[in-house]
């Protein structure tokens, strides 16, 4: 009974105090144990339980457990475990704690039954995760982390504003289905959209994930965006605008991914593209589509983590993840290469791999609803996925021309993590029933029908054929050390430059202001020092006479007051 209600994610937060006590060696064991505990608890919990606490007139539903919660809770625990296993070698307590707090917040948010609780965990994910970027400990990582944090916090604040308005309009803070009909729900929608990396709000993702540490990126890739997908699926299923947003999301990252040089950024774009599929599924909103979204999120977390892990292992051994510097690593890292191929096959949705059994749910749901154009876009995007994640990543990292690098095979624990993840990808691909059982709705879908398999194989094989021909003609985009500008140029370049330009003109005024500011601060500090500083008037040790004087003053104050008010 206790296990049934006790919100297990609280255990994740226990790591913060424990980290003050234990060494990193003990912590990493706990870091593995706690997600397993969480996983087992979620498996054993009864459906439709809830746990409500009363905090000052607000009924906070700390736990709301239904089928949608369950599938996301399970995959988050799984991802936390795999990520922590992958990060077994990390001796940095900050990263360890940040990782576990981050996953705990994400699970807490999934369990949240009201917007206030959601807000707390929403901000929790933001604050905990930024340390995974800062842990790289370079100025660039610091700045990138700042940008990331700012955007995430803004998302949280918009959520808070939306919640307050929503409470004002409806008197309820329950986290349930909303209609996009008021400012409140639009604010909440936008807040979710920022975390979900909607087009034009997406740049934090490609900006920050390549900046995190080797292990940090793996963990980052699992939670934030999928939490947003969960939140959208919970609050806005069947909202039509999501279909178009999702379609756009699947489309544009393909081209960027194709020309990006940093493989981790390629994967970040591809993550964005995969999110598009899920968002379309939410927008369709039928049972099948939502099943597809949940299943795709589940599978996606695994294979995306797998891809990030393999690229991370390359980075770990070679010090770079740039396509232009890599190539031919299959000679010395064959196992990692194999795992990477498994991930690639999964993301490209080859039959027998996890992507196939989950993506086709969404595609079919779209087709049943007769969104012809959307369906074509998604098929197109599937070919795109193959091009950047399925071919580009493994090809440039492990095959391609020989870069001359001969790194050692990835360390054992990384191989373990990748192996487990690969196994899961394949198991889901072969026996989709296992996953379907945990989806929010009843599934009667059979992915392995002749026409399905053949159609998919046709699509993929001819795309590969095209690749072979283009490669043979030497027309592939070259790997060049470069970056590509995206929408983020607006806030990283245009606006700051504009302000710099403007400020240049008012230099004199600014100088005056800063001088005034400085002197003011100095005056305040000296005053503080005089009165309450270590030897200040109030804080120094008083003589008895002074003390008694104050007694007399207070007494006479009270007496005078009493006399004057009552006459």
């Amino acid at each position: 009974m206790f296990l049934n209600i006790f919100p297990i994610f609280l255990l994740f937060f226990l790591m913060l105090p424990l980290s003050l006590i234990f060494s990193w060696k003990t912590l990493r064991i706990l870091l593995l144990a706690i997600p397993i505990l969480g996983f087992l608890q979620i498996l054993s919990m009864d459906l439709n339980t809830s746990y409500v606490i009363n905090l000052m007139n607000l009924e906070l539903q700390l736990v709301r457990f239904d089928k949608l919660t369950r599938v996301f809770g399970l995959i988050f625990c799984l991802a936390a475990f795999l990520g922590n296993l992958y990060a077994w070698h990390v001796k940095d307590k900050i990263q360890q704690v940040a990782a576990i707090m981050y996953s705990g917040s994400a699970i807490g948010a999934v369990f949240a039954g009201d917007f206030v609780t959601l807000f707390f965990f929403w901000e929790g994910t933001a604050i905990a995760s930024v340390f995974l970027i800062w842990a790289r400990r370079t100025p660039a990582a610091y700045h990138t982390g700042m940008r990331y944090l700012l955007i995430q916090i803004i998302s949280g604040l918009i959520l808070l504003m939306g919640t307050v308005l929503h409470y004002k309009y409806t008197g309820s803070i329950e986290f349930s289905k909303l209609e996009l009909d008021s400012l409140a729900s639009w604010l909440i929608f936008i807040s979710f959209g920022i975390k979900c990396a909607f087009p034009f709000l997406h740049n934090w993702l490609q900006d920050s994930y390549p900046a995190a540490t080797v292990t940090g990126t793996v963990i980052l890739s699992a939670f934030t965006t999928k939490l947003a997908v969960y939140a959208l699926a919970r609050a806005f299923p069947g909202t039509e605008i999501l279909i178009y947003i999702g379609a756009a999301m699947t489309l544009f990252p393909i081209f960027f991914a194709e020309i990006e040089n940093d493989l981790r950024r390629v994967l970040a774009y591809s993550l964005n593209n995969q999110l598009g599929f899920m968002v379309v599924g939410i927008g369709i909103g039928t049972e099948m589509a939502l099943n597809g979204t949940a299943a795709h999120a589940f599978a996606h977390i695994l294979y995306k983590a797998l891809l990030f892990m393999s690229v991370g292992a390359v980075l770990f051994r070679t010090g770079t993840s740039k396509a232009s510097e890599l190539g031919g690593l299959y000679r010395t890292m064959p196992i990692t290469a194999t795992f990477c191929l498994v991930g690639a096959a999964s993301i490209s949705a080859f039959p027998l791999f996890s992507g196939f059994v989950t993506k086709s749910l969404i595609l079919d749901a779209v087709a049943y609803k007769h969104y012809q154009l959307i369906w074509f876009i998604l098929i197109f995007a599937s070919a795109g996925v193959l091009s950047h994640s399925g071919i580009k990543v493994p090809f440039f990292a492990f095959f391609s021309h020989d870069s001359g690098l001969r790194p050692k095979e990835a360390p054992f624990h990384m191989l373990m993590a990748m192996g487990l993840t690969s196994a899961l990808c394949i198991i889901i691909g072969i026996t989709p029933g296992l996953l379907y059982e945990y989806l929010p709705f009843e599934v009667s879908y059979k992915p392995y029908s002749t026409y399905h398999v053949i159609n998919q194989l046709q699509l993929l094989c001819f795309a590969i054929l095209s690749f072979i021909i283009i490669k043979w003609l030497n027309l592939l985009p070259q790997e060049i050390r470069s970056i590509n500008i995206d929408f983020d140029i607006i806030y990283r370049k245009v606006i700051p430059d504009f302000f710099k330009h403007m400020l240049g003109k008012f230099e004199v005024i600014i100088k005056i202001i800063s001088v005034v500011k400085l002197t003011l601060i100095e005056i305040i500090i000296s005053l503080l020092d005089k009165f309450i500083g270590s030897d200040g008037r109030i804080s120094r040790i008083w003589s008895t006479g002074n003390m008694v004087l104050w007694i007399a003053i207070v007494l006479s104050l009270i007496l005078v007051l009493n006399y004057s008010t009552n006459i």
Binding site: I541, T544, I551, V554, L557, N566
Partner: protein, 508 residues
Amino acid sequence: MNSPDIITSTKSFLDHLPVLQVLFPFAFAPLCVLFGHRKIALYITISACALAFVISLLLLRQVLIVGVVSYELGGWPPPVGIEYRVDFLNAFLLVLVSGMAFLTSIYLIGTMHAEIEEDKQTLFLTCFLLCISGLLGVLITGDAFNLFVFLEISSLSTYVMVAQGANKDKRALTAAFDYLVMGTIGATFFVIGIGFLYAATGTLNMYDIAERIREDLPNRTIQVAFAFILVGLGLKGALFPLHTWLPKAYSFSPTPTAVFLASTATKVAIYAIIRFLFSVFHSHPSMLESVLINIVMPLGILAMFAAGGIAFYQRDLKRMLAFSSVSQIGYILLGVSFMSTIGLTAAVVHLFNHGISKALLFVCTGIIFLSFGSSFYKNIKGLGRRMPWTSAAFLIGGLSLIGIPGTAGFISKWLLVQAAIEQGSWLIVAAILISSLIAILYVWQVTEIMYFAKSPSTETKEYLGPSSFLIVWILAFSTVFFGLNTSFTVEYSSKAANLLMNNFTMEK
């Protein structure tokens, strides 16, 4: 007058709880001296504290069942005889004081031999017990003069307990002396006030006084009595400009003393203030209002800022904590001065929560002090790595001082903010929040020194016996527990506050 032979029914143990509450520590104190040996005395002390704690819990239960428990001493019914009177407010605080006494006595097992000279230990324990009985007596009595007597019992024994710090630092003697002078002035003021009240009403029973001054129009004698009582108790409770004895007394005394005093002594004085304001003088609401709003509230806010700022400038853990106590007392008095149910609830909850958190902080400081021989910031760098358990617990206490959600301190601050919002005074809300920022500053400073400063290479042993460890974590756990589960604290406090405010609003 009832002649005693009317009483025929034999009374059960439960009926005697109010007097037993005070009697156990009081009667065990001479036993310590009689047996003389310090080990025996320690066990006597612990058992007395344990008994007192159990009785306070029983009393609380009794109050829940009966409402108000009244006990007349010597068979003389009030208002002639001395009455012990327990309602929600003091039942709740009795639990705090006796509980803290119990924890302190256990803490003494591991640290007494290091803190106090060997031949003074029996004396110390005797005074400790007397102090406990004094504080419990102040809480429980319904007689104004009896309250003074108990206040003096606790104060006199406190002076001795503070002076025991001379073992480590001779300045403890001047601290004790200053405290003596100030405490005596406070007590004198208080007794002058009682004298005036007696002159005006001819009775010493507090409820009787309240009855009798009701008929009177605003009366000079009562006004003067009120002023003297408020200042006298304000001195004992470290109301802001009268707090000057406190930092010295806390920082030079042996840590068990500091632990006990910080968590209870000022709290009891503030209890007495609340009691006088809302159970005795409530029949003069306009007088109360003008004094509370024009004097107590500004002083409370001033305390929050000035004492918090001073705490930030301190370079010694003990002094920092002492000043932070003054600032926290500001919060409590602010809560009182709202004169609303929720404000009073906040004040009472903060009495309790701050008592626990401060005890935790002082216990940790005591362990740090014994390990390093000093609690100056410059000497405790890198503490977090060398004494992980103690520092972690300290951090929890610090978070509670700031009022981070999930710790006890949050609950009381949240209530206080609510009280301020209820009054519509957004300036005060801002003041509470800003002063919390100051608390963040001074706690952060310590955290930084503990966890981020580079530690000197000298080896230090962590002075952490099983008993200290137990106490530290009991306190740390309760700090978190009462931050998460508010059913006990808030419920009782709001009951107490309702009770007090009923008196008050009826008058209005």
